[in-house]
């Protein structure tokens, strides 16, 4: 019960304090909305349709939203040393990390609603397999959040976290099949595509929205939680090494 109270307090504070911080607004909200509008407006003509780009912009909104949130919630507090208060609370590092990432996951999920709402204006979303889409969005949000956590525990400044995040986020936009089909990615780079969790999440969304995913869904359902566990383990190891040295 005590742990649950602490968990909720951290999550609530992060949502109240950081959702509208400038780096979050620019990278986590404005940027994905701009891309969404750009793609959707562009897609209204031939040869691509709004439905074709929707899974990609959904994935991108989650990816940018979650990684930006973590860069802010962890790095801001490390900088001001407020994070020490959390490390001293009797809740354990794993619970603390889960509480900090929960805000990012919810933020990513909420961000994903933007392209869905905008897309619904142009296309009929009744054919979308929501039973697959919603867990897929959740898994993309969780893996992207933990990717953001890995970055956040490795840097000291907010700008470093955003820059370092871009080092991963932008290549992912092109490598993970968001807008370029996996089959069209040069063979040399394709192994890299399959090493990135976003590839599997986006492919699940393509299955759910368009029915044209190329990776069997069961592989993605197994690999995404595996990526999540690996990224979380790496982050906590790194946090223990960097923060309690």
């Amino acid at each position: 019960m005590k742990t649950a109270i602490a968990f909720w307090a951290i999550l609530k504070k992060d949502m109240q304090n950081y959702y509208l911080k400038p780096p979050n607004i620019s990278w986590g909200i404005v940027f994905p909305i701009s891309w969404t509008l750009m793609f959707i407006l562009r897609a209204r003509g031939e040869p691509v349709s709004v439905a074709d780009v929707l899974p990609g912009v959904m994935t991108m909104s989650v990816l940018f939203g979650t990684t930006s949130m973590l860069a802010v919630t962890v790095t801001f507090e490390r900088r001001s040393r407020a994070f020490e208060r959390l490390l001293l609370a009797p809740i354990g590092l794993n619970t603390l990390m889960l509480a900090k990432t929960a805000g990012g996951v919810l933020f990513g999920f909420a961000n994903c609603l933007v392209p869905i709402i905008l897309g619904a204006y142009w296309i009929d979303l009744a054919s979308v397999h929501w039973g697959m889409a919603i867990p897929a969005i959740a898994l993309i949000a969780v893996t992207s959040t933990f990717l953001g956590l890995c970055i956040a525990v490795s840097v000291k400044e907010v700008f470093e976290a955003q820059t370092f995040s871009n080092f991963f986020r932008f290549p992912m936009v092109f490598l993970c099949g968001l807008f370029l089909p996996l089959g069209d990615i040069p063979a040399l780079l394709r192994p890299l595509s399959y090493a990135l969790p976003v590839t599997y999440g986006n492919d699940l969304l393509r299955h759910a929205v368009l029915g044209d995913g190329v990776i069997p869904p069961w592989i993605s359902w197994i690999l995404l939680p595996a990526f999540t566990l690996a990224l979380f383990a790496f982050s906590t190891y790194n946090a223990r090494r960097n923060w309690i040295s």
């Binding site: 005590k2 742990t3 109270i5 307090a9 504070k13 304090n17 001001s80 490390l87 009797p90 354990g92």
Partner: protein, 323 residues
Amino acid sequence: MNHYAMEVEDLTKRFGDVVALDGVTFEVATGEIFGFLGPNGAGKTTTINALIGLTQPTSGHLRVLGFDYPADIPNAQARIGVVPDESNLYPELSGLENLRFSAALYGMPAAERDSRALSLLERFSLADVKHRRFGAYSKGMKRKLTIAAALIHQPEILFLDEPTTGIDVGSARQIRALLGALNADGVTIFLTTHYIEEAERLCNRIAFLVAGKIVRIDDTERLLTEAQEGSSVTLALDGHADAAARIIAEAFPHLLISRGNHRTLTVSASGTIRLTPLLRALDEAGIEIFEARVVRSSLEDVFVRITGIEAREMRAANGGNAQ
């Protein structure tokens, strides 16, 4: 009940090639105010960080409130409060919200959080500004709220790292009074400071830490008694303090010389200082003495004698203010 609130044995901490703590050993009795005194970089903060579980020692044994480290750190952390050297609450939250949040971190139910937060705001004279953002507080108010936040879960030990550094004299006095009252309520206090006067006023026992080593631990009273067995003379000169210091050092090697400005010198000794030969030596060297004032030796003199570090230098290195 443990006789010792904390026991530290042979604590060593290395950061690469740098030895921050070198075989530090001490105990703090339950209910005492223990002072850790030393210049910047002596290892005071590293010691606190090891005791609160934010630094892993390279070697050595630590036990806090009967909990062995590192296995029982979370149990110990639930019963200690920490005031870091910088006020580190959330600037976006109000004073009351910060305290409520701190209480929630320790799993307090909502009703208890509010009553505890309000009573602490009252005790620390911050009730009038409880809805003001922490970021808009003055330095002294920030410090007081940081101490209040550390007390929210009624800890048995309070760790304070340089609690009065950088704040005005009035707030510093108020904080010292609060610490005294907390200790009277049974809270064990571990305090690091580079203000010798602060340690003298507050602490039951003091450890002098220099370059990662404890050079002396003793009761404050005993240290003061020792100080009073010694004597000091402050000389006001015609501006040749360097030359005067050289002459005294050569002629009276048992005296400890401490420079003020270019016109003043203080000489100390563990016994009586014979003034006549001292003044004669300076007079014969053509140095004019305007005033020779015998001063009561203080803990500062003991510190200088033990560590060889000028207290004034220590304050300057730490960017201290008037206390």
